[in-house]
């Protein structure tokens, strides 16, 4: 059997004294898209931050393997270089830094860390144009400071643009549908679907089923009280939508 892109084993994590992840086990083979659904406060977003290595969270037990390699000792930048990309639920504003500038800095930082040469300006422009067209991102938007004054849809499209350019092995999408109207949702979903690839895995975190009509997952997991309590195919999402999360509370208790 080939090594899965992501393997999480018995992951426990806390913020200050509060334990939030209480034994997460999750394996995503290459090429698959997994969805995690759960109510607010169940720990879904924490899982995304812990994967990306945010400092505020302390892993107390367990392992995270990316392509078979334990990443827990890596800092956030090293994890990004190793292939983890987190599309933020609330993308952060970087005043004064043109989106284009930011993209180039990020791409070249990763290339350099991998010992590759910098992307030439024409190659970079070509790549941005190609990915941007797909996401309805025009050159005016690229000149504006990243996320500053962006609409909800623009922010999410900018996240997917970065994802497309950085070509990660694992895409973690945290509530990518929040703040999107139906048209924007379609554009963003189309962008995400275009990145589905046999060598790439995705973890889609959401609490609405609606996103999963557009980004159809291979596996759906239900998250409750810091762990996965149920897994199934895409129909599980429909079931959740119809019945709510109550049936799954304490499922492992």
């Amino acid at each position: 059997m080939t090594t899965p892109i992501l393997e999480i084993r018995n992951l426990h994590a806390r913020i200050e004294e509060r334990e939030i992840l209480k034994g997460v086990n999750l394996t995503i083979p290459a090429g698959q898209v997994h969805a995690i659904m759960g109510r607010n406060g169940s720990g879904k977003s924490t899982l995304s931050y812990v994967l990306a290595g945010k400092e505020d969270y302390e892993v107390t037990e367990g392992e995270i393997l990316l392509n078979g390699e334990n990443i827990l000792d890596m800092d956030p930048a090293e994890r990004a270089v190793a292939g983890i990309f987190l599309a933020f639920q609330y993308p952060i504003e970087i005043p004064g830094v043109a989106t284009m500038t930011f993209l180039k800095a990020a791409i070249n930082a990763q290339r350099k860390a991998r010992g590759e040469g910098e992307l030439s300006t024409p190659d970079f422009m070509r790549a941005v144009k190609e990915a941007g067209t797909q996401l309805n991102i025009d050159s005016d938007m690229l000149k504006r400071p990243l996320n500053v004054g962006f609409s909800g849809g623009e922010k999410k499209r900018a996240e997917i643009l970065q994802m497309a350019l950085l070509k990660p092995a694992l895409c973690v999408l945290d509530e990518t549908d929040s703040g999107l109207d139906i048209d924007a949702l379609q554009v963003v979903s189309k962008g995400v679907n275009a990145l589905r690839d046999a060598n790439r895995s995705m973890l889609v975190i959401t609490h609405y089923q609606r996103l999963l009509n557009h980004i159809v997952p291979d596996v759906v997991h239900v998250f409750s009280d810091g762990r996965i309590v149920e897994s199934g195919d895409k129909d599980l999402a429909l079931q959740l939508e119809a019945k709510g999360y109550a049936d799954f509370d304490g499922a492992l208790a």
């Binding site: 990306a52 945010k54 400092e55 505020d56 800092d75 956030p76 930048a77 994890r79 990004a80 270089v81 990309f85 987190l86 933020f88 993308p91 952060i92 504003e93 970087i94 005043p95 004064g96 830094v97 043109a98 284009m100 500038t101 930011f102 180039k104 800095a105 990020a106 070249n108 930082a109 990763q110 350099k112 860390a113 910098e118 300006t121 422009m125 941005v128 144009k129 941007g132 067209t133 309805n136 025009d138 050159s139 005016d140 690229l142 000149k143 400071p145 970065q162 950085l166």
Partner: protein, 501 residues
């Protein structure tokens, strides 16, 4: 959809990249100009006295009027006391424990570049200052920049003089101007900063040793950037330079100033005076990248930078624009100002002041509106890291006759870490009802969320800070000449090294 992407400026993107690269390539020794050059010097006897003043004047072969002027300044100085209103703290400076004149012995008065001591050329080379006209002329990549190189107390060489003189521009050391163009010097010297203006300006008037003199004749647009590169090399030496720029009616000049000094344990004093005069419709753009040695990580040593810079928009519709990037010095006390005397004249002040370690910055500007329909614009960006203190101090005033005076001021402070301080001290005074002054101020921190976001995209901590800070100063950076812009972005990264984590 899919607009033309070709119009996106790529130059600035490359510069940002350069910033990020420079952070990565940092040496352990972050102040890369801290070396000392072994060049034999001719020194004045130590200490300040009337004899010192006479010694300097004699060394410079000055006419009697200049000596008298200096002695008058010296006598005034003896009656003055050091100002204490700035938010800076330092041990008493012992004016008797320093040298007021140090000149490289080898080159008393080189006529051309060929006569300049190769050791000096090599030193400036190491500093990245081109002193070779021919090379610059042959190359197509770099825009031409004429350089006046001042080391310790003397100007060692001025490039491109001949080419400039063809259009009537005078660009030489102030010492030479005193000898060769006494009528211009006498007319304008101290006409903007009076001899007794303040403690340091008066001291400078008594003991100034060299600096640059620029005269742009009527209707001439200076065909290249003019620049002066100041270097302190000798130990225990104060540098007192004097710069005078005169732009006659309908002329234009862009002037750049750079400064560095070796790393030393003891603090050194730098007290300069810069005077600008813009006549009718003339424009002077004055840019500074100040990178004096800031002292070590414990706050030992460094340059005390007490500088008086002032421009006089004497003519109608004249314009003076100050752009400064302050990254060096242990203490910075500096307020480049504009006297908006001519009707319709304009003053601008764009500033980036970065403090790290134990640096103290008290800097800002004064915009004095005297004429009708005068306008001014101030954009000041302060970045404080480490244990530093960073104060913006600015004055905007409108005289009773300054009808329709306009000012816009924006002061933004960025804090890195929680041991530093940023302060904004605006003084606003209006004596007529038609003046409109606007003042905006913000203070922010680089947030953990911003850092995490950048790092999640693969940027290291240093890369992330440099990128965020360069974004913060963007609207000031745009006002720098291209050459300085690149240098500044690198300097920002270097100055903030070690400010996180």
């Amino acid at each position: 959809m899919a607009d033309d992407y070709a119009d996106i400026p790529t130059l600035k993107e490359n510069i940002d990249r350069a910033t990020v690269d420079s952070v990565r390539s940092l040496d352990v020794d972050k102040y890369k100009y801290g070396f000392e050059t072994d060049i034999e010097s001719d020194m004045a006897p130590k200490g300040l006295s009337e004899d010192t003043v006479r010694f300097i004047s004699k060394k410079k072969n000055e006419p009697q009027w200049m000596l008298d002027w200096r002695l008058e300044a010296y006598r005034r100085f003896l009656t003055m006391t050091e100002p204490t209103w700035a938010k800076v703290h330092y041990p008493q400076i012992d004016l008797q424990d320093m040298y007021y004149y140090a000149a490289p012995k080898s080159s008393p008065a080189p006529k051309s570049l060929d006569e300049v001591d190769p050791a000096l050329i090599a030193m400036y080379d190491k500093l990245g200052v081109p002193l070779k006209e021919r090379e610059i002329l042959a190359g197509v990549e770099r825009p031409k920049v004429a350089v006046d190189a001042v080391m310790d107390s003397v100007s060692v060489v001025t490039t491109f003089r001949e080419e400039l003189s063809k259009v009537g521009i005078i660009f030489c050391s102030i010492s030479e101007a005193i000898r060769e163009y006494p009528e211009l010097v006498q007319k304008y010297l101290a006409s903007v900063v009076p001899v007794s203006d303040n403690y340091y300006a008066t001291l400078n008037s008594a003991v100034f040793t060299d600096g640059s003199f620029v005269y742009i004749p009527k209707g001439v647009r200076c065909p290249m950037e003019l620049s002066t590169y100041f270097r302190i090399n000798e130990k225990k030496t104060g540098q007192f330079e004097r710069t005078l720029i005169i732009a006659e009616a309908d002329s234009y000049v862009s002037y750049l100033e750079g400064c560095t000094a070796p790393m030393r344990d003891e603090a050194q004093l730098h007290a300069a005076v810069v005077e600008l005069v813009a006549l009718d419709n003339a424009e002077i753009k004055y840019s500074t990248v100040q990178n004096w040695y800031p002292g070590d990580k414990d706050g030992k040593g460094g340059i005390y930078n007490f500088v008086t810079k002032r421009g006089d928009c004497r003519g109608a519709n004249s314009k003076i624009s100050w752009t400064q990037v302050e990254t060096g010095s242990a203490i910075t006390w500096k307020y480049p100002s504009c006297i908006l005397r001519g009707d319709g004249s304009r003053g601008e002040f764009y500033s980036i002041a970065i403090s790290n370690g134990y640096q103290q910055v008290d800097s800002g500007t004064k915009m004095l509106h005297l004429g009708k329909n005068t306008s001014s614009r101030i954009i000041a960006k302060g970045i404080a890291a480490g244990f530093s203190d960073n104060t913006y101090r600015g004055q905007v005033s409108a005289h009773a006759k300054a009808k329709n005076a306009r000012n816009f001021t924006q002061c933004d402070s960025l804090l890195i870490g929680d041991k530093c301080g940023a302060h904004t001290v605006p003084y606003i005074e209006s004596r007529n009802g038609t003046a409109v002054f606007e003042h905006e101020a913000t203070t922010s921190k680089i947030s953990d969320d911003q850092m995490f976001y950048c790092q999640q995209r693969g940027l290291s901590e240093e890369d992330a800070v440099a990128l965020i800070v360069n974004g913060f100063v963007r609207d000031v950076l745009q006002h720098l000449p291209m050459e300085f812009m690149v240098e500044t972005q690198k300097l920002i990264a270097i100055s903030l090294e070690g400010s996180v984590g």
